[in-house]
Amino acid sequence: MPGDLVRELLVESLAAWRVAGDVEHATDGSIILRANQRSIRVERAPAGSMFRWMVTIDDRKRPAISLVAILRQLREAIDPGYPAKRVRVTVAPLVPP
């Protein structure tokens, strides 16, 4: 998927969370997000990994299975007021029977 789209998602997410910060592409293709005195690197997981992304926060590298998981990790790291909660939208079938 386009790296620009991921970068824009992170930029807009900061705005949505009302957290000041900046997002830029690094020369190695990863994306660096800086906010709340933290620097966070988002990059694609190595080929063959069962995860799609790796997120490095304070030198601790953690896998993320999706963009949704990245957003959750980022917000938990940079938005102290974020009440980490998991929601379940529906238990109904996603497609009609």
């Binding site: 824009e8 998602l9 949505a16 999706s66 963009l67 917000r75 109904a92 996603l94 497609v95 009609p96």
Partner: protein, 347 residues
């Protein structure tokens, strides 16, 4: 024998003194509003509003006190269950609709959530429409001062201007404020409470006349390409339109992420979605804050327009974030399930 036909529940809300009870009193005198069960909530230990509403013999009024939105999980659900039980037993009028008049201080969102999520109610009741009264004399000031009045307007399917006989006409500033909060809700006028009942409660997802889902009416007049806001407005409505079908998993992830990150700031979301796996049967989605109703599947598209149309009303939720979120999740689903790329890529 228990009649299992879904009973629509409409909500009449509006700030203190905005004319809800006057409108309700007029409605209940109309023949088409016979066989209506009304739940009136009042803030305070001694209720008066129910004494002011004169219902026909085929209708009746229940009263709850206390702040409905604070106690809604139990009180409203229990009141509705009790009404259904009495209807089934034949110990009250066999009503075919319910109207809830909220207290003027009530946040309507938890009320809508209860109607959508209580398992015991969901199989018997269906959310009708939400009508909000706005006082043409004091409405602009109220909206400026009272957050809850903004939410009452934001979740409305219909907005009813009252006291126009005193104001002469609604001020331009009030009309602009209403439009910025909820451009999709048509503005109606009540003359001393008089208003067409069909006009008022015809905008629900469920159409009592046809006993079917009226999506076109529900989404009617929503601006489909623009967000509506003013520089000082925290509550905005925006419509997201996508030409290409959306994979089911992408829609689910999108809704979950909106709910997770927006919480109470997501006032209302409604839409009709072309699901990639089943493009001939549109899914109707409906959410209030972090609670989403299970999708309703239509048998067919209501018109030739098969685009997905999602209307989001929220507080300080940037439109661009919503758009990028949906597109990024769609693109990732394309990566993981290459077969879906034909349906999503390029929007």
């Amino acid at each position: 024998m228990t009649d299992r036909t879904a009973i629509p529940v409409s909500v009449l809300t509006g700030f203190l003194g905005s004319g809800k009870t006057t409108v309700l009193g007029h409605l209940l005198r109309q023949p088409e509003f016979s066989r209506t069960a009304v739940i009136i909530n009042e803030f305070g230990e001694i209720g008066l509003d129910h004494e002011l509403v004169e219902a026909s013999e085929d209708s009746f009024v229940e009263l709850t006190t206390g702040c409905l939105c604070c106690k809604v999980r139990t009180d409203l659900a229990e009141t509705l269950q009790d009404l259904l039980r009495r209807r089934d037993e034949g110990s009250c009028v066999r009503f075919d609709r319910i109207v809830i008049e909220t207290s003027g201080l009530a946040d309507p969102a938890p009320i809508l959530q209860t109607l959508m999520t209580d398992a015991g109610l969901a199989e018997r009741l269906v959310l009708g429409s939400v009508a909000t009264t706005v006082d043409a004399v004091n409405g602009a000031g109220t909206l400026e001062r009272e957050d809850v009045s903004q939410k009452q307007v934001a979740v409305a399917d219909r907005i009813v201007l009252t006291k126009l006989d005193l104001a002469g006409a609604a001020e331009t500033t009030l009309l602009a404020r209403l439009k910025s909060l909820n451009s999709g809700a048509p503005l109606l006028s009540a003359d001393h409470g008089r208003i067409g009942s069909h006009d008022l409660f015809a905008a629900g997802l469920y159409d009592p006349a046809t006993k079917s889902i009226d999506v076109e009416g529900w989404l009617a007049d929503e601006d489909r390409e623009h967000s509506h806001s003013s520089h000082h407005a925290e509550i905005e409505a925006c419509a997201i339109v996508r030409e290409r079908p959306i994979p089911a998993i992408a829609l689910t992830l999108f809704l979950e992420t909106l709910a997770e990150h927006c919480g109470a700031d997501l006032l209302r979301l409604k839409g009709i979605v072309n699901i990639a796996e089943n493009p001939d049967q549109p899914a109707v989605i409906h959410g209030v804050q972090h609670v989403f109703h299970a999708p309703a599947w239509l048998q067919r598209w209501p018109s030739d327009d098969r685009r997905s149309r999602i209307v989001v009303i929220g507080r300080r939720i940037p439109r661009r974030w919503i758009e990028v979120l949906l597109d990024a999740i769609g693109a990732e689903v394309d990566d993981v399930f290459p077969g879906s790329s034909r349906s999503w890529a390029g929007r």
